[in-house]
């Protein structure tokens, strides 16, 4: 009874006797944790370039939490052999505010503004994901017009996120902010539209269970149409500026390769996953909302390196523009919220629901357990950038510190979401 617990052994025993009770677990023995080490059976660690024996002394560097290119208060504990990375441990939690605990002490509606603060670049996607989970939990229907508005806002958010990400990524490569400023110019236009619609530029708090908060202001669709029609020019400009740039190619090709098996196994989602060639876009898979009505394609990478991840963003922006054009063309008149929904004192039935959407950074899921009261019993966020960081070490190992910076940049993290 005193031997440390070994489930594999217990399993074999179970097979032999055909009867093993969970009571056989040893309660008195001190909990023995296995030593840290690579114990992943499914997929070997990323096939990063072979690391030779360390030539000199290993140097431990702490990159962050206030390093200019960690995109917030994020830290990487890096062990370097010369300039090569031998080990990299991401450390976070500096922005941890126990969002989920807050959520469990607030009403369902009261949580909506909090979701804005998760990935503060994409508040409208977050709103939608949360609304989707609650709608699933309570079985609510969303009016036609609201579905269109949701698609429009979510795709605009995707444009904002991807263009900024491309800018930040190139900034990490040392372009002195020029692409970033170009990206921010476009972002400003879209934020203006958000402001006109929701009253806020970043913390929009716009979606509601069963629809949207208010109808579109007059002239808003035309404003968005102008933005969307001009957007491809910005993408072309960006591509002409840098996609074929020799330095960019030298910096990104073959850097941070993520094999597809590992990507799937590690739950990487979003553009990073598709850059590895896995065709998995929730807009196509789940067809949540009304995404089955639009014609668009899912771009897929071939190598899974940083360049592919960069190109995924560019190509996805082009597809988003297509979706937006169709949505703006087809949007019907009608109510924007189910009038039967009582947002105040909203009490969903007992049960649980997991709802997920394809946020710009990957799969954003909300898991709710309702005990029939006004507050969720359990409120959980599945943050894409948090889980995409799982493979950061695998992608970085064997590369230099300068590569780690752009690999991290291409993962696309927002610390508000990672730390919650």
């Amino acid at each position: 009874m005193s031997k440390p617990l070994d489930f594999d052994a217990a399993e074999q025993l179970a097979m032999a006797t055909g009867d093993v009770e969970p009571e056989q677990l040893d309660h008195d023995a001190p909990v023995s944790l296995p030593p840290p080490g690579p114990r992943y059976e499914a997929v070997p660690r990323a096939a990063s370039p072979a690391i030779p024996e360390p030539e000199g002394e290993l140097l431990e560097v702490s990159v962050g939490p206030h390093h200019p290119s960690t995109h917030g208060v994020f830290r990487m504990n890096v062990v370097l052999d010369g300039e090569k990375i031998v080990q990299l441990k991401p450390v976070f939690g500096y922005l941890h505010r126990n969002h989920e605990k807050l959520g469990e002490q607030t009403t369902y509606l009261g949580n909506m503004p909090y979701t804005d603060r998760l990935d503060y670049f994409c508040s409208l996607s977050n709103n939608w994901a949360y609304a989707l989970a609650v709608e699933k939990l309570a079985g609510l229907k969303v009016p036609e017009r609201a579905e269109y508005i949701r698609v429009i806002t979510a795709e605009l958010t995707r444009l904002v996120n991807h263009s900024s990400l491309v800018g930040f990524l190139l900034h990490d490569m040392g372009t002195m902010g020029t692409p970033l400023m170009y990206a921010f110019r476009e972002r400003e236009k879209i934020l203006d539209a958000f402001e006109a619609l929701t009253g806020a530029r970043m913390m929009c708090n716009y979606h509601r269970f069963g629809g949207c908060r208010v109808d579109l202001p007059p002239g808003w669709l035309d404003q968005v149409r102008t933005i969307v029609d001009n957007f491809p020019r910005f993408i072309d400009e960006m591509e002409r500026l840098l996609s074929e740039n020799e330095v960019l190619i030298a910096r990104t090709h073959g850097v941070g390769v993520l094999p597809p098996e590992l990507a799937v196994n590690a739950g990487v989602t979003g553009p990073s996953l598709r850059a590895s060639g896995i065709n998995y876009d929730l807009r196509k898979v789940d067809r949540y909302g009304i995404y089955d009505r639009f014609q668009f394609r899912v771009p897929l990478g071939e190598k899974g390196d940083v360049y592919d991840r960069y190109m995924m963003r560019i190509l996805e922006m082009r597809e988003s523009v297509k979706i937006l054009q169709q949505a703006l063309r087809d949007i019907p008149e009608g109510p924007v919220i189910d009038p039967k929904v009582r947002l105040r004192n909203f009490t969903p039935p007992v049960g649980e629901a997991y709802g997920r959407i394809e946020a710009p950074k990957g799969e954003l899921g909300f898991y709710l357990i309702s005990d029939g009261s006004k507050k969720p019993y359990r409120y959980r966020i599945r943050p894409p950038s948090f889980i995409n960081l799982t493979v950061l070490e695998d992608m970085c190992r064997g590369h230099t510190l300068a590569d780690a910076v752009i690999i991290l940049g291409a993962v696309d993290i927002v610390l508000g979401e990672v730390d919650r």
Partner: protein, 169 residues
């Protein structure tokens, strides 16, 4: 002996002493740079511009940087607290005396060295080049060959690393 020379000489000797006596290897190296610079300015004072420039370029720009690199890459901090002077002191002193005596003897006794000092500015660059490429071309090439061999040797030594430490992780 002009005032300029006095200042430069004092500076050079002090810096050289510092290179010997300072406790931190990096300080000693930097002090050595100071001494080399002092020598360079002495050349300039003598009107030998080219030699000055080459002295700075080669000794400060290359040799001193090399020393500094070696100190950093081999973690020279390990021997901190011990001066870099030769031990035992008497041996170092003996060598120093020998070298100094030899130099003085050369200046005093060898006839060539007692030739008249060239006028300032007469160390014409063109003449220097001609002399090096004609009269002393064999010596020059030999030195070049020697340095190349030394470099190849260094590369070979660096490649082998028989004593490389086992990886720690």
């Amino acid at each position: 002996m002009s005032a300029t020379f006095a200042i430069l000489a004092t500076w050079t000797v002090l810096a050289a002493l510092g290179a010997m006596a300072l406790r931190k290897p990096v300080h000693a190296a930097l002090s050595l740079v100071g001494a080399l610079m002092g020598v360079a300015f002495t050349y300039l004072n003598l009107g030998a511009e080219f030699i000055t420039a080459v002295q700075v370029l080669v000794y400060v720009g290359a040799v001193a940087i090399l020393i500094v690199f070696v100190l950093q890459l081999t973690r020279g901090e390990g021997v901190e607290g011990e001066s870099l002077a030769v031990q035992p002191a008497s041996l170092g002193l003996g060598i120093a005396l020998l070298v100094t005596g030899g130099l003085i003897a050369a200046v005093v006794f060898l006839p060539d060295w007692r030739a008249a000092w060239p006028e300032k500015g007469d160390v014409a660059l063109k003449r220097l080049g001609e002399v090096l490429m004609n009269r002393y071309v064999v010596a020059l090439e030999a030195i070049g060959l020697l340095l190349t061999i030394a470099m190849i040797g260094a590369v070979l030594i660096a490649l082998k690393r028989p004593d490389s430490q086992p990886p720690e992780s």
